[in-house]
């Protein structure tokens, strides 16, 4: 074969092998690698936006926002990505798309405000217009709290996207309204207070409830409903931890162990058996004298005496008293904690708040 063609053939073979190795390597990358890329994609997208590569930035931002699960953007990064996407669409003069993205951002985080040093005035003006036209609230409440109905109150802070009217009610799990908590305008934020009573002035029974905040538009139509689930428990609020029962390592054995008794009996038993059995081993074929059983019996009886002298299984009064003292002390402390908890919990209402849920998002 021509040497030049042979060399070319070799190079081609090497190139194919290298490509195959690269493809195999790429295919063997874990799926997490793609998921982990969301923050990196956001960085690329911001760089593209700064370079005014708006088409590229839009594509990268949508890709970063589409990642779900463990590799998804953190809430703050997601807000930032949506703002950059809205700005990109404004600059690309895709106003419908920009409005939809901005509205999505307002609903997700009514408190979000774009950085005036990053985005141009036209973008800031656009976002401000969308925010004002998109009434929405979010709520923050302590996860677990206990109140005395009528005397204390659960505080829930509402954050609004813009000034608008809201109604806030306490509902049963099935949606029936127990009490109206507030009806009126909300500006930047508003503290809702529930004193633990329904409209008749009584504490509701144990169960699941929700604080429902309905955002109204200028025509007083409900545009968004936010539900903050609550779990209410009466009189079962342990504020003091119960003491742990005494550890096994602190308790002494209350009965004599069998081990020392068996350890004392075993040598005697072995010697007794040896006396009975050894003649047939040492002097096979001879009839050994029955007198050996006198010695064997004596050894065995001594072993039995040694066994019972250890009193196996007998209670040890000193240890039992020591353990009783420990247990009694623990019981007393536990009863005292229970009593003090009951005293503190008398008439108290335990409230566990879940994560707020936006159940009627506005159609874009």
């Amino acid at each position: 074969m021509d040497p030049h063609r042979l060399e070319a053939h070799r190079r081609m073979t090497r190139a194919v092998a290298l490509c195959a190795a690269l493809i195999a390597g790429a295919a063997s990358l874990p799926p997490a690698a793609a998921a982990q890329a969301a923050p990196a994609v956001l960085v690329q997208a911001v760089r593209a936006y700064d370079d005014l590569d708006l088409d590229g930035a839009a594509g990268l931002l949508r890709r970063a926002l589409s990642v779900q699960g463990a590799g998804a953007l953190a809430p703050a990064d997601a807000d930032r990505a949506m703002m950059y996407l809205a700005a990109t669409e404004v600059l690309r003069e895709h106003s419908d798309s920009a409005r939809a993205v901005a509205r999505r951002l307002v609903v997700a985080n009514p408190r979000f405000r774009p950085d005036e040093l990053v985005f141009p005035p036209q973008v800031l003006t656009f976002y401000e217009g969308v925010r004002r036209a998109t009434p929405a609230v979010t709520a923050r409440a302590p996860a677990d709290t206990a109140i005395r109905p009528g005397a204390e109150a659960l505080a829930v802070r509402l954050y609004a996207s813009t000034v608008h009217d809201v109604t806030a009610t306490l509902d049963r799990d099935d949606g029936r309204v127990l009490r109206t908590l507030y009806a009126g305008p909300v500006g930047d934020s508003l503290d809702l207070h529930w004193n633990g009573q329904d409209s008749t002035g009584t504490a509701p029974p144990n169960g699941r409830y929700a604080i429902t905040v309905t955002s109204l538009d200028r025509q007083r139509r409900a545009v968004r409903i936010l539900r903050l689930p609550l779990e209410v428990t009466q009189g079962r609020v342990d504020t003091l931890p119960h003491p742990a029962p005494p550890a096994d390592s602190l308790l002494l054995p209350e009965r004599q162990s069998m081990k020392p008794a068996l350890r004392a009996f075993a040598p005697a038993a072995l010697a007794g058996v040896a006396i009975a059995v050894l003649p047939s081993i040492v002097a096979n074929g001879e009839d050994a004298s029955g007198a050996r059983f006198v010695v064997g019996g004596t050894v065995t009886v001594a072993g039995l005496v040694a066994f019972f002298s250890h009193h196996p299984g007998r209670s040890i009064p000193g240890n039992a008293a020591h353990n009783r003292t420990l247990r009694d002390t623990w019981r007393r402390e536990d009863a005292e904690v229970a009593r003090r908890n009951a005293e503190r919990a008398r008439g108290m209402l335990g409230i566990h708040a879940g994560a707020p849920v936006l159940i009627t998002p506005e159609a874009p």
Partner: protein, 212 residues
């Protein structure tokens, strides 16, 4: 063979008495024993059984892990038609490998004296193992001793012999007194191969002793 064993035992004894146990104290114990002994002889199909009382003494000395024991007893064993004197003894060197386990080596001899005949002496060089267990700490222990003769001789007729034996029983010590007692059962058998002779001896002995 006998000479080799003697040399080995002597070397061991010298070692035991010099450097290895130089920092330990000597402990000595003496005892007097008495008991019932039954001796059965069998030559082919001929059997003879004699029994009687034997009395003797023993001395034990120990230093560190090394122990030496001497025993001697004599008496007369008879039956309805015959009787003979018996004398027996042993000299053993031991090493306490564990607190509960001692290994021994040394000669063991028994002589039957019949009037009008020369003595018949059984001599066996033996290796032994003694295991002890505590029933009441410091007060009562049980023990089992097994031995096997690895070479031996019979004086009449002159013959090489083999044999083995066992002893088991109970040791008692008085509290705060150096006095002890032992109840033991012993059985041993010597065999002279070519003439089919077997000599089996059983004994129940009671020993009372004291420690110095």
């Amino acid at each position: 063979m006998t000479r080799v064993v003697v040399i080995v035992c002597a070397a061991w004894w010298i070692l035991a008495g010099t450097s290895v146990v130089a920092q330990s104290k000597w402990q000595v114990s003496f005892g007097a024993a008495g008991g019932q002994e039954i001796a059965r002889s069998r030559i082919g199909t001929t059997r003879e059984r004699v029994s009687g009382m034997v009395f003797g003494g023993e001395a034990t000395t120990s230093r560190g892990r090394f122990v030496a024991r001497l025993r001697y007893a004599q008496g007369r064993v008879t039956n309805d038609t015959a009787g003979r004197d018996v004398a027996e003894g042993e000299a053993l060197l031991g090493y306490r490998a564990r607190p509960w386990l001692t290994v021994w080596v040394g000669p063991h001899a028994r002589t039957f004296v019949v009037p009008g005949q020369s003595d018949r002496r059984w001599l066996l060089w033996s290796g032994r193992v003694t295991a002890r267990g505590t029933l009441f700490p410091g007060r009562v222990t049980s023990f089992v001793e097994l031995w096997q003769g690895f070479t031996g001789s019979l004086s009449r007729p002159a013959e090489s012999v083999t044999g083995g034996g066992a002893e088991a029983g109970l040791d008692l010590r008085l509290a705060r007194r150096p006095v002890w007692g032992r109840l033991a059962y012993r059985i041993e058998q010597g065999r002279a191969g070519s003439i089919g002779r077997r000599e089996t001896v059983e004994a129940i002995t009671l020993t009372v002793g004291f420690d110095r």
